[in-house]
Point group: C2
Chain length 102, copies 2
Protein backbone atom coordinates (compact mmCIF):
# COMPACT_ATOMS: atom_id res chain seq x y z
CA UNK A 1 0.00 0.00 0.00
CA UNK A 2 1.47 3.29 -1.14
CA UNK A 3 0.40 6.33 0.91
CA UNK A 4 2.03 8.70 -1.57
CA UNK A 5 -0.85 8.20 -3.98
CA UNK A 6 -3.41 9.70 -1.65
CA UNK A 7 -1.28 12.69 -0.75
CA UNK A 8 -1.01 13.52 -4.43
CA UNK A 9 -4.78 13.75 -4.97
CA UNK A 10 -5.55 17.29 -6.13
CA UNK A 11 -7.87 18.89 -3.57
CA UNK A 12 -9.45 21.12 -6.18
CA UNK A 13 -10.56 18.20 -8.33
CA UNK A 14 -11.10 15.67 -5.57
CA UNK A 15 -14.54 16.98 -4.71
CA UNK A 16 -17.69 15.33 -5.95
CA UNK A 17 -19.18 18.44 -7.48
CA UNK A 18 -16.04 19.71 -9.15
CA UNK A 19 -15.03 16.25 -10.24
CA UNK A 20 -18.36 15.96 -12.04
CA UNK A 21 -17.86 19.36 -13.66
CA UNK A 22 -14.35 18.49 -14.80
CA UNK A 23 -15.54 15.18 -16.14
CA UNK A 24 -18.37 16.82 -18.06
CA UNK A 25 -16.05 19.46 -19.49
CA UNK A 26 -13.52 16.83 -20.46
CA UNK A 27 -16.19 15.20 -22.61
CA UNK A 28 -17.33 18.30 -24.50
CA UNK A 29 -15.34 21.22 -25.87
CA UNK A 30 -17.53 23.67 -23.95
CA UNK A 31 -20.65 23.76 -21.84
CA UNK A 32 -22.95 26.57 -20.75
CA UNK A 33 -23.74 27.26 -17.13
CA UNK A 34 -27.25 25.99 -17.69
CA UNK A 35 -26.03 22.86 -19.42
CA UNK A 36 -23.92 21.98 -16.40
CA UNK A 37 -26.73 22.80 -14.02
CA UNK A 38 -29.18 20.61 -15.88
CA UNK A 39 -26.73 17.80 -16.43
CA UNK A 40 -25.37 17.63 -12.90
CA UNK A 41 -28.55 18.70 -11.13
CA UNK A 42 -26.70 21.14 -8.92
CA UNK A 43 -28.17 24.27 -7.40
CA UNK A 44 -27.17 27.52 -9.04
CA UNK A 45 -25.21 28.79 -6.07
CA UNK A 46 -23.33 25.57 -5.68
CA UNK A 47 -22.41 25.53 -9.34
CA UNK A 48 -21.14 29.13 -9.45
CA UNK A 49 -18.86 28.65 -6.48
CA UNK A 50 -17.41 25.41 -7.85
CA UNK A 51 -16.87 26.99 -11.24
CA UNK A 52 -15.16 29.93 -9.59
CA UNK A 53 -12.88 27.61 -7.65
CA UNK A 54 -11.94 25.78 -10.82
CA UNK A 55 -11.40 29.04 -12.62
CA UNK A 56 -9.17 30.42 -9.88
CA UNK A 57 -7.14 27.22 -10.02
CA UNK A 58 -6.68 27.88 -13.73
CA UNK A 59 -8.49 24.69 -14.70
CA UNK A 60 -11.46 26.15 -16.54
CA UNK A 61 -11.92 29.30 -18.56
CA UNK A 62 -15.19 31.17 -18.30
CA UNK A 63 -16.63 33.37 -21.03
CA UNK A 64 -19.62 35.59 -20.38
CA UNK A 65 -21.74 36.79 -23.27
CA UNK A 66 -25.31 37.63 -24.14
CA UNK A 67 -27.32 35.47 -26.51
CA UNK A 68 -31.04 35.43 -27.24
CA UNK A 69 -31.53 38.29 -24.83
CA UNK A 70 -30.12 36.25 -21.99
CA UNK A 71 -26.78 36.01 -20.23
CA UNK A 72 -24.72 33.09 -21.43
CA UNK A 73 -21.82 31.76 -19.43
CA UNK A 74 -19.69 29.23 -21.24
CA UNK A 75 -17.07 27.06 -19.57
CA UNK A 76 -14.29 24.97 -21.01
CA UNK A 77 -11.17 23.24 -19.78
CA UNK A 78 -7.89 25.04 -20.05
CA UNK A 79 -4.83 23.03 -21.11
CA UNK A 80 -3.73 23.09 -17.46
CA UNK A 81 -7.15 21.82 -16.45
CA UNK A 82 -7.02 19.05 -18.98
CA UNK A 83 -3.61 18.01 -17.72
CA UNK A 84 -4.61 18.20 -14.06
CA UNK A 85 -7.68 16.12 -14.75
CA UNK A 86 -5.72 13.51 -16.70
CA UNK A 87 -3.21 13.30 -13.85
CA UNK A 88 -6.02 12.96 -11.35
CA UNK A 89 -7.70 10.18 -13.29
CA UNK A 90 -4.37 8.38 -13.60
CA UNK A 91 -3.96 8.58 -9.86
CA UNK A 92 -7.46 7.17 -9.37
CA UNK A 93 -6.57 4.38 -11.71
CA UNK A 94 -3.53 3.49 -9.63
CA UNK A 95 -5.57 3.64 -6.46
CA UNK A 96 -8.19 1.36 -7.95
CA UNK A 97 -5.57 -1.06 -9.18
CA UNK A 98 -4.00 -1.07 -5.75
CA UNK A 99 -7.28 -1.80 -4.01
CA UNK A 100 -9.09 -4.15 -6.35
CA UNK A 101 -8.77 -7.72 -5.06
CA UNK A 102 -7.97 -9.28 -8.47
Amino acid sequence: MNPELFLQLDRVIHEKGRLAIMSALAASPELAFTDLRNLLEMTDGNLTTHIRTLQQAGYVSVAKSYRNNRPLTTCSLTPAGRKAFADYVNLLEQIVRQNKPN
Copy 2:
Protein backbone atom coordinates in the same frame (compact mmCIF):
# COMPACT_ATOMS: atom_id res chain seq x y z
CA MET B 1 -21.00 11.02 -19.22
CA ASN B 2 -23.06 9.71 -16.35
CA PRO B 3 -23.62 12.17 -13.49
CA GLU B 4 -25.16 9.48 -11.31
CA LEU B 5 -21.72 8.04 -10.59
CA PHE B 6 -20.48 11.14 -8.83
CA LEU B 7 -23.60 11.52 -6.73
CA GLN B 8 -23.08 8.02 -5.44
CA LEU B 9 -19.58 8.67 -4.09
CA ASP B 10 -19.65 8.05 -0.34
CA ARG B 11 -18.73 11.31 1.40
CA VAL B 12 -17.27 9.48 4.39
CA ILE B 13 -14.78 7.58 2.27
CA HIS B 14 -14.25 10.20 -0.43
CA GLU B 15 -11.76 12.19 1.59
CA LYS B 16 -8.02 11.85 1.09
CA GLY B 17 -7.24 11.08 4.71
CA ARG B 18 -10.03 8.60 5.31
CA LEU B 19 -9.57 7.02 1.91
CA ALA B 20 -5.95 6.34 2.84
CA ILE B 21 -7.03 4.88 6.18
CA MET B 22 -9.64 2.64 4.56
CA SER B 23 -7.16 1.52 1.96
CA ALA B 24 -4.57 0.68 4.59
CA LEU B 25 -7.09 -1.21 6.68
CA ALA B 26 -8.33 -3.10 3.64
CA ALA B 27 -4.82 -4.41 3.16
CA SER B 28 -4.20 -5.64 6.72
CA PRO B 29 -6.53 -7.36 9.18
CA GLU B 30 -5.81 -4.69 11.78
CA LEU B 31 -3.57 -1.73 12.38
CA ALA B 32 -2.65 0.21 15.50
CA PHE B 33 -3.15 3.95 15.81
CA THR B 34 0.60 4.40 15.66
CA ASP B 35 0.93 2.15 12.63
CA LEU B 36 -1.55 4.32 10.74
CA ARG B 37 0.10 7.50 11.89
CA ASN B 38 3.53 6.34 10.78
CA LEU B 39 2.30 4.87 7.54
CA LEU B 40 0.16 7.79 6.46
CA GLU B 41 2.23 10.54 8.07
CA MET B 42 -0.81 12.19 9.54
CA THR B 43 -0.85 14.32 12.66
CA ASP B 44 -2.30 12.68 15.75
CA GLY B 45 -5.29 14.97 15.95
CA ASN B 46 -6.13 14.54 12.32
CA LEU B 47 -5.95 10.78 12.61
CA THR B 48 -8.18 10.53 15.68
CA THR B 49 -10.91 12.62 14.14
CA HIS B 50 -10.88 10.66 10.89
CA ILE B 51 -10.93 7.38 12.76
CA ARG B 52 -13.85 8.62 14.83
CA THR B 53 -15.76 9.60 11.70
CA LEU B 54 -15.16 6.18 10.20
CA GLN B 55 -16.16 4.52 13.44
CA GLN B 56 -19.37 6.53 13.69
CA ALA B 57 -20.20 5.54 10.14
CA GLY B 58 -19.80 1.93 11.21
CA TYR B 59 -16.91 1.35 8.83
CA VAL B 60 -14.13 0.62 11.31
CA SER B 61 -14.14 -0.94 14.74
CA VAL B 62 -11.81 0.45 17.36
CA ALA B 63 -10.42 -1.56 20.27
CA LYS B 64 -8.56 0.14 23.08
CA SER B 65 -6.22 -1.89 25.25
CA TYR B 66 -2.99 -1.55 27.16
CA ARG B 67 0.15 -3.32 26.02
CA ASN B 68 3.74 -2.93 27.15
CA ASN B 69 2.63 -0.30 29.64
CA ARG B 70 1.23 1.86 26.86
CA PRO B 71 -2.21 2.51 25.43
CA LEU B 72 -2.86 0.55 22.28
CA THR B 73 -5.66 1.46 19.91
CA THR B 74 -6.32 -1.09 17.21
CA CYS B 75 -8.50 -0.45 14.18
CA SER B 76 -9.98 -2.82 11.68
CA LEU B 77 -12.62 -2.73 8.98
CA THR B 78 -16.11 -3.89 9.85
CA PRO B 79 -17.99 -5.98 7.27
CA ALA B 80 -20.00 -2.86 6.44
CA GLY B 81 -16.77 -0.91 6.02
CA ARG B 82 -15.33 -3.56 3.75
CA LYS B 83 -18.45 -3.48 1.63
CA ALA B 84 -18.61 0.31 1.52
CA PHE B 85 -14.98 0.46 0.48
CA ALA B 86 -15.42 -2.17 -2.21
CA ASP B 87 -18.43 -0.26 -3.56
CA TYR B 88 -16.46 2.95 -3.49
CA VAL B 89 -13.54 1.44 -5.38
CA ASN B 90 -15.92 0.00 -7.95
CA LEU B 91 -17.38 3.44 -8.46
CA LEU B 92 -13.90 4.88 -8.90
CA GLU B 93 -13.20 2.19 -11.44
CA GLN B 94 -16.25 3.18 -13.44
CA ILE B 95 -15.32 6.84 -13.22
CA VAL B 96 -11.82 6.08 -14.44
CA ARG B 97 -13.12 3.93 -17.26
CA GLN B 98 -15.49 6.70 -18.26
CA ASN B 99 -12.76 9.31 -18.30
CA LYS B 100 -9.75 7.50 -19.65
CA PRO B 101 -9.29 8.36 -23.34
CA ASN B 102 -8.66 4.79 -24.53
